[in-house]
Symmetry: C2
Subunit: 365 residues, 2 copies
């Protein structure tokens, strides 16, 4: 009785009972219609859809999630949203997730394990169906906590074992080989590399891809041209300054990420060296702002959109049984984007205070 009289006001949001009443069917039939259950009579289904349309009904996600146990919510954990690497990743993740009928919950850890803990806690409380851990590196114990809950997880590069874990492989080699060969073709023989922090798996991968590419073309790398950076602007500046101070710097510098490359650009600017006339610089990631630097930065692109797509699909494949013909392959390519920070090597080695230096020359005049 109470049930029968509920929800008669026009302003209230229609519920499944209202639809059922209007279509003169039971709520069960409405539910089946919505969920495309095959056994429902097409004529009834049409009545139901029409009722749904006229009422502007949309099912209550909370109730759905409560009974079905599936929230259609995907978690996305990233390191730091202000790092220009991530916004594009998020964008791609959102696009693909929404296409597949999922909503996303984003959390940034800011490299703080405790914050990471809270992120995971929040996601578990919201009952996410799966989590993409797109941070570089994850603490072991936290991973265990996630693993205990029966939630599918997807990672980049690093691959813990477990039936619910997926890994996205990045083919660093291809793009980095292209970059090295691009420099070699221009005539560079003195190529340096500033790595990321080597405790990160992805940084080690990039460095070894570089070393391999150098070896492939028969070049030998001077040990002091291989330096460890920390993936930050400041790191790039200080390492490049060290290279300059050494008195015998390479003519081209490749870096493990774009922030480091921008740091290199800053150091060179401060040392009054010109890019690409005195030094060629190549970044990695091809972050959006790489186009906006002066000069625009040549960089190895790793498609964030592709990465995001793989992540969502990997989770989806765990959650929804796919046709057996479907063979998942989570692999992301890299490729070189040539802009204006690379050019022919300088005829003579750069020296600080050299007359070839533009701004200094003017200052003296």
């Amino acid at each position: 009785m109470g049930r029968a009289k509920r929800n008669t006001s026009a302003s209230a949001r229609p519920d499944i009972h209202a639809v059922a009443r209007l279509a003169r069917v039971s709520i069960a039939t409405v539910s089946r219609t919505i969920n495309n259950v095959a056994t429902v009579d097409p004529r009834l289904a049409q009545r139901v859809w029409k009722a749904i349309d006229t009422l502007g009904y949309s099912p209550n996600t909370q109730a759905r999630a409560l009974v079905s146990g599936r929230s259609r919510l995907l978690g996305l954990i990233i390191s730091e949203i202000t790092n220009p690497f991530f916004p594009e990743l998020i964008q791609g993740f959102e696009d693909v997730a929404v296409q597949n009928g999922y909503e996303i919950l984003i959390s940034s850890t800011n490299y703080d394990p405790q914050r990471m803990e809270q992120c995971i806690q929040r996601m578990l409380e919201r009952k996410v169906d799966g989590v993409a851990v797109m941070t570089f590196g994850i603490e072991g114990p936290l991973l265990d906590r996630l693993a205990q809950r029966q939630i599918p997880l997807v990672f980049v590069d690093v691959a813990p074992n477990g039936p619910l874990f997926s890994t996205i492989e990045v083919d660093y080699r291809h793009g980095i080989r292209e970059a090295v060969q691009h420099l070699a073709v221009l005539g560079h023989r003195r190529i340096g590399f500033i790595s990321g922090p080597l405790h990160l798996h992805s940084a080690r991968e990039r460095q070894s891809a570089f070393l391999r590419a150098i070896g492939e073309i028969g070049l030998k790398l001077r040990p002091d041209w291989l330096q460890e950076g920390n993936h930050t602007l400041e790191g790039g500046i200080s390492v490049m300054q060290k290279l300059l101070d050494s008195g015998d710097p390479p003519t081209a510098i490749m870096t493990s990420n774009d922030m480091t490359a921008i740091g290199v650009l800053h150091a060179l600017y401060k040392a009054e060296a010109r890019v690409p006339e005195d030094f060629s610089v190549i970044g990695f990631d091809d972050v959006t702002i790489a186009q906006f630097t002066l000069p625009p930065l040549t960089s190895v692109q790793m498609s964030r959109h592709e990465l995001a797509r793989c992540a969502v699909l990997a989770l989806r494949d765990h959650l929804e049984p796919q046709p057996s013909s479907y063979v998942p392959r989570y692999k992301v390519q890299t490729k070189l984007i040539v802009r204006q920070s690379t050019g022919l090597p300088a005829a003579r080695p750069f020296r600080r205070g050299n007359s070839r230096n533009a701004r200094k020359a003017v200052a003296q005049s």
Copy 2:
């Protein structure tokens, strides 16, 4: 019977009944304890908390939302996540929302009204408690759709009428006045301004703040030094080129956002002019990458964190009755951040191909 025997397996996530059983109280008492209802006996409460702790219980958000009608979910609609303005806003929003016990749902419209429509649809389906519309400008009809549902909304600058609407005011004048006076103190008398697209409220506000500040110090602005840009890098480049081509450019250029300023930097670089020796440049927003440009960009900062804080608090104030002593005031300050793109005006007006141009001089040598 069924009820009594459920959920006895150790691996299952504990339920409110499990807690009640362990604490030897009813589920109602557990619920009241969790929600800090005053009438519960402190000694019972302690038993309940202890049981919650030992079981590692956390309430099911979906069930909670279903019965209480409140999802504790806040929507955040932005223009475009790859625009460097937004990530910091998101970060702040996330921080403050989580502090207040809310989770957030992010959606970017990419300036596409249809996509905006979908965003709103998705948010309504997830039954968000409130939405922050942080895009610059919103379509009227969409706003109406949001208004129909009884959902609190918060906007920036633009203020529709309605009991559920809040507006965050930005004090553009303060920061822009500081910028103009900073240039004036350095000795600039020829100050230009590149505005944003003037159909945007915020762009008009910034321009009028600039005009007012110029008037305050008794300067008069030559009409051709006031140009309309479009808040993009390309816009900045082309407008600056037009100013240079005019043959009588200002010595300092202020812009309506940082992307435009970066465009100006590019145009000047291409024209072989030096910053700040030949031209001073001031941006607006103080986006993260403003620190990374060459030279680092002087810019008027509008705190995204503050903006986000206001947005969350405005929504919260609608959702949760605040003590009467609490007087909300949603206002965001702006202030000048001086970096290295501003300096003394050039002694002589800049002319393209002038001997003062650094790189050209070298090329000739």
